[in-house]
């Protein structure tokens, strides 16, 4: 058991996501930066999909009720597994702006909240999953699972060795001309203030010369880049609805979405087109 003794403004329990229920309109949710979640789990010997605390916008502290290994990854300088003794209060610094906006706190055994539709991830708009379907507050007591004796290797990074975010063009090719795609791919956008677990709006010159109004909704996914009526892009994030009516100019490669998620409002974003095949070697 670990207790939240000082809560940051925005912390939720997340795992790798809730799959298999999109036809019922259930978003995948899960970590905004899945690579940092996998790394955190590997460093404390957890299964890759164990649940952790995703933490943003500030610092906080945890009280450990029994001795446990823990680690903090994501927007931190150097992740290092530590051991807390029973009764220890562990103070967590806010995410370091230079490294991003989310940190991931994994404890040995994983956060053992009940599975809802196969996942421990919190889905705030539906108020289910995670810890009582909500943001963590002071006094919340999080159950911790059984430790696994086995150690696991940190995952090989699939990150692309460039600032650019890889995009697969489609599935609304007919809506966008080659010039629109060219304009989109040559623009340097900035992450807008309006960016959260549902989607990141991007600021930049609006895509001009087309009709981007809402049309018949079709399935979308995290990473889909919608062009809104005003020509501004929104990149859908893990809590986004499963269907959308705005045309999608392209979709961020799943290996790069976490890198985009870690960018803070005002940070630059450039996109580069790739084919939908296997992840090319960096």
């Amino acid at each position: 058991m670990i207790e939240i003794s000082t809560a940051p403004p925005f912390a939720t329990v997340q795992d790798l996501g809730r799959f298999g229920h999109r036809a019922s309109g259930v978003p995948v949710s899960g970590a905004m930066d899945p690579d940092s979640l996998r790394l955190a789990n590997a460093l404390v010997g957890n299964a890759p999909d164990a649940a952790v605390i995703e933490w943003a916008l500030g610092g906080g502290s945890l009280i450990f009720r029994r001795p446990l290994q823990y680690v903090v990854t994501g927007a931190v300088r150097a992740p290092r597994p530590m051991t807390a003794r029973a009764g220890d209060t562990v103070v967590l610094a806010p995410p370091i702006h230079f490294f991003g906006r989310f940190i991931y706190v994994a404890v040995e055994g994983g956060i053992d909240v009940p599975l809802v539709l196969g996942s421990r991830s919190t889905y705030l708009p539906g108020a289910f999953g995670g810890y009582k379907g909500r943001i963590l507050r002071v006094g919340d007591e999080l159950p911790v699972g059984q430790s696994r004796a086995a150690s696991s290797e940190p995952p090989a990074s699939t990150a692309f060795d460039s600032d650019a975010i890889r995009v697969i063009v489609g599935p609304n090719r007919a809506t966008f001309s080659a010039e629109h795609r060219q304009q989109f791919l040559s623009t340097e956008f900035k992450v807008a203030q309006a960016s959260d677990r549902m989607g990141y709006r991007l600021d930049g010159p609006p895509l001009a010369g087309g009709e981007w109004g809402a049309r018949l909704s079709e399935p979308v996914c995290p990473g889909a880049i919608q062009i809104t009526t005003s020509g501004q892009p929104i990149v859908l994030m893990p809590d986004a609805p499963t269907v959308g009516g705005y045309p999608v100019i392209g979709v961020v490669h799943s290996a790069d979405l976490g890198r985009l998620a870690q960018r803070r409002p005002g940070e630059a974003v450039r996109f580069v087109e790739i084919s939908p095949g296997p992840t090319p070697a960096p």
């Binding site: 799959f19 298999g20 229920h21 999109r22 036809a23 019922s24 309109g25 259930v26 978003p27 809802v116 539709l117 889905y123 708009p125 539906g126 108020a127 289910f128 999953g129 697969i168 063009v169 489609g170 599935p171 609304n172 090719r173 049309r215 018949l216 909704s217 079709e218 399935p219 979308v220 996914c221 990473g223 889909a224 609805p241 499963t242 269907v243 959308g244 999608v248 979709v251 961020v252 490669h253 799943s254 290996a255 939908p276 095949g277 296997p278 992840t279």
Partner: protein, 210 residues
């Protein structure tokens, strides 16, 4: 050649048309159900006139699935079976019922009659978990969404907008006209499947006073 495009590195979308149409919805439902038994496919989700397959890139590829889909669309539709039938009791006492009557030039009982007379099809599920877009609404009830959406629409609200109707499954913001309320739960995260309705299902509304 069918119109197939990638939706990222682990999904693809096939476009069957560009209209809200029962025949397209039936075709989308049938393709989705065939896709669910195709190796490597993890989930298949119908849109109004599209189907999206989410796949495991370690088990299949965009090219393999696109080829499988192409041969599926070339086959004669074999399975014309419709979806499940549902009857939803409604108390027609919604806060917008009077306004809907005024703007459509009908009496409130005519609005209720026309809404309850419809035999609806679930076109797709989305917006929030369990939200089913049902059509087609009687053209006499066709109104644009409210100018000012509500910040909170209570779960169970029965609503209309354009040629569609729906039951709000959760407390959410919403811009449709609220004409009634049902006690039927449209979404339960502890159930499997969690949504009461699925794309292709048929729905009727029955007035109740209880």
């Amino acid at each position: 050649m069918p119109d197939i495009e990638p939706l990222g590195d682990r999904a693809l979308t096939i476009r069957l048309g560009d209209s809200m149409d029962r025949a397209l919805a039936a075709l989308a439902r049938q393709l989705a159900s065939r896709l669910r038994t195709t190796p490597g496919v993890l989930e298949a989700v119908p849109g109004y006139a599209t189907v999206t397959a989410f796949y495991d890139p370690a088990a299949t590829s965009y090219e393999l699935l696109a080829a499988a889909l192409t041969s599926m669309t070339a086959m004669t539709p074999a399975d014309q079976a419709m979806g499940a039938e549902h009857v939803i009791p409604v108390r027609y006492d919604g806060p917008d019922l009077d306004e809907v009557a005024r703007r459509t030039g009908l009496t409130t009982s005519q609005v209720v009659e026309r809404h309850a007379a419809g035999a609806y099809t679930v076109y797709l599920i989305g917006f929030v978990p369990g939200f089913a877009y049902l059509g087609d609404l009687d053209p006499a009830l066709d109104l644009p969404r409210r100018g000012e959406p509500r910040t909170r629409v209570p779960a169970g609200s029965v609503a209309i907008a354009g040629r569609q109707t729906a039951v709000y499954p959760l407390d959410t913001p919403g811009g449709w006209h609220l004409i009634g309320q049902t006690d039927i739960s449209m979404f339960d995260p502890m159930a499997d499947p969690p949504a009461k309705l699925a794309a292709g299902d048929r729905v009727r509304f029955v007035p109740t006073t209880a």
